[in-house]
């Protein structure tokens, strides 16, 4: 069973009289544990697609099944629950809460989910160690380097052990070497079985994924899975 199945998805934005088809007749299925790169020119609908996959946005038309369950018809609270337990987000600009320490930022999803403090602490401690941040637990975001910030963000995105990890240009604000580290980290998580979907402009990074989705004007222009040709990771 596919972890993600999109059928006939459309997302239209209305700006005054004109309307933009940010997503147009999209059919995509992604299997558990896949590593997918979404690529394409600016404005082609990559972020719109990712937001939709993350249940931050709803399609105008079409169905979205996450782990076999139709999630487009869920109530807002049920969608929040799915975001909390099944989906992890990593953003280009990190989106850490500036007044919270690294440890507190990582614990945030567990706090929102109502997990007791003791369990939060032990899980945060493990995550800090896993992501090489144990010396940085009490640091606030402005006391961390860009790479460290993104590692905190990834730790936060994965602390609830989601089924799918969504990353929108996760290396966009990082230099090459640091970006490389972050990608390695994400790939390691994927290697342990987490479905990983990355939006990127970077052809080289995109090529590292086992599957590429090329977007253009809201349509899927090319899906490498349909070639049968899978680039070697």
């Amino acid at each position: 069973m596919s972890v993600i199945q999109l059928v006939g998805i459309e997302r239209v934005f209305h700006l005054g009289d004109s309307s933009v088809h940010a997503l147009d007749h999209l059919d995509v299925a992604i299997e558990p544990g896949e590593y997918v790169a979404i690529m394409g020119p600016s404005g082609s609908g990559k972020s719109t697609l990712l937001n939709l996959l993350g249940l931050l946005d709803r399609p105008n038309v079409g169905s979205y099944r996450l782990e076999g369950r139709d999630v487009t018809t869920l109530s807002p609270d049920e969608q929040a629950e799915v975001r909390s337990r099944r989906i992890g987000f990593v953003f280009q600009s990190f989106h850490l809460v500036p007044r919270l320490t690294a440890a507190e930022n990582i614990a945030l999803p567990m706090m929102l989910a109502g997990i007791p403090g003791a369990e939060r602490d032990s899980r945060v401690e493990r995550a800090l160690k896993d992501f090489g941040l144990d010396q940085r637990s009490d640091h606030r975001p402005d006391q961390l380097s860009g790479g460290q910030r993104q590692r905190v963000a990834i730790a936060r995105a994965t602390i609830m052990q989601p089924a799918v990890l969504l990353a929108d240009e996760p290396t966009g604000n990082l230099d090459r070497a640091t970006g490389e580290d972050v990608i390695n980290l994400l790939e390691a998580l994927n290697a342990k079985g987490m479905t990983l979907i990355i939006v990127t402009h970077d052809q080289k990074l995109g090529a590292r994924a086992r599957r590429q989705l090329e977007m253009e004007d809201g349509r899927l222009k090319h899906d490498s899975a349909r070639d049968g040709a899978r680039p070697v990771a």
Binding site: G54, D57, A80, F89, P116
Partner: protein, 402 residues
């Protein structure tokens, strides 16, 4: 999200913006402090007046010459031109009424006292022996005016504590001769200090027999007659009895006014309570203003933290969780402000009491409860709108603002 976590999150958020938080806490604090101090002032004034009246003596009925203007029109009134004066005999006759326990006449004027080479102006009160018990005064030295025929006063005087201090200093005054106007009088007693009284300061009064005062001031009228009823329940009966007796003595004309301490007290009490409530109401406006400020601060917080709200939604926060967090923050601002204001207000009342020790400036309980309640209420009420706005933000839009 667990409630302790909501509170901690809200607290950290408020602490993260110290200037904004400080200002709204300050506004709320000023509002509450204003209510506390102003009601302390108002209620202090009420208590002060009530205390002063109580100090006049218990079960007191006072007779004034002349018909009071509030008595309304009556045919008997219309026929009279000048009211008859109150006399010593009028006063003395009242002492024989069954419900009356004590009576004291009161004639008053000003004169000069001189003794030990010192001179000062004083209020001279002409009265009789029962006066001290009616007013519940105590003696510091010697005795009060002797029991005697009211029409034939001995040349003696009782002086207030301040006069004793200023004229005699540390030396005993009892037995000394003083000159009061053109009379030479012997001091037989000194009153214990009672502090500021209504109308006159008893500490600065010289008491002499009533007939002596009348001859000093060349009159045969009384300023007041003070009557003590046997019990509190009989005050109204005494009033009627006194009125009837004086009417009979004055040829059937009701040409005096009888006031009871209770009635005067109740009027003042009501008046000053209303004043306190009005002052509290005015001060409460500042609480509403503070509430609106909290709302503005929270709206700014929502705008400033839009990115954070989007993030929280992406991390799985429900709308209600976000609403609760912002409501908790507004409540905290109000609560801390209210408590700070309460402390400030109590301190202000304390300073007032230090500056004016006779003035019991304590805020009434109802005002404190109302102020704290209003502060919290407005804070929460005005917190609802920003919190709902935060909860309704579109996560995608919110995340783009960072």
């Amino acid at each position: 999200m667990r409630y302790p976590d909501v509170l901690r999150f809200a607290r950290d958020a408020a602490a993260g913006y110290p200037l904004r938080t400080g200002l709204s806490v300050l506004a709320m604090a000023i509002g509450v402090a204003a209510v506390v101090v102003l009601t302390a002032l108002g209620d202090g004034a009420r208590r002060y007046v009530v205390d002063q009246f109580s100090a006049l003596g218990s079960n007191l009925v006072i007779v004034l010459p002349g018909r009071s203007a509030t008595g309304g029109f009556s045919p008997a009134n219309a026929l009279t031109t000048t009211p008859r004066d109150l006399t010593i005999d009028d006063a003395f006759s009242l002492g024989r009424l069954p419900l009356v326990r004590r009576v004291a006449p009161l004639a008053a004027g000003t004169s000069e006292i001189s003794a030990m080479g010192r001179l000062r102006e004083v209020v001279v009160a002409g009265t009789a022996a029962p006066y001290i018990d009616i007013r519940s005064f105590r003696m510091a030295q010697g005795r009060f005016l002797p029991e005697a025929d009211w029409n034939r006063g001995a040349p003696v005087a009782v002086i207030g504590s301040k006069i004793q201090e200023e004229i005699f200093g540390n030396r005993p005054a009892v037995g000394e001769l003083i000159r009061l106007g053109d009379r030479r009088l012997r001091v037989v007693g000194v009153l214990k200090s009672v502090g500021q009284g209504l109308g006159m300061n008893t500490d600065e009064v010289v008491f002499v027999p009533v007939s002596l005062a009348q001859s000093m001031f060349n009159t045969n009228t009384l300023f007041r007659i003070l009557i003590e009823a046997r019990s509190r329940d009989e005050i109204e009966a005494v009033k009627a009895e006194v009125l009837a007796a004086l009417k009979a003595r004055h040829g059937g004309e009701e040409d005096v006014t009888v006031i009871t301490q209770d009635a005067v007290l109740a009027t003042f009490d009501k008046l000053l309570r209303a004043l306190t409530a009005a002052v509290a109401g005015i001060a409460a406006i500042s609480l509403a203003v503070a509430g609106i400020l909290v709302m503005n601060v929270m709206l700014v917080a929502v705008t400033q933290r839009t990115g954070e709200i989007g993030l929280l939604k992406a991390l799985g926060a429900r709308g209600t969780t976000i609403r609760n967090a912002f409501m908790a923050e507004a409540a905290m601002l109000s609560l801390v402000g209210a408590l700070t204001g309460y402390g400030l207000g109590l301190f202000g009342a304390f300073v007032l009491r230090q500056m004016y020790p006779v003035f019991p400036a304590y805020p009434p309980d109802w005002a404190v409860i109302a102020a704290l309640g209003t502060a919290l209420g407005t804070g929460l009420l005005f917190g609802i709108m920003p919190a709902r706005r935060a909860a309704r933000l579109d996560p995608v839009q919110a995340l783009m603002k960072h």
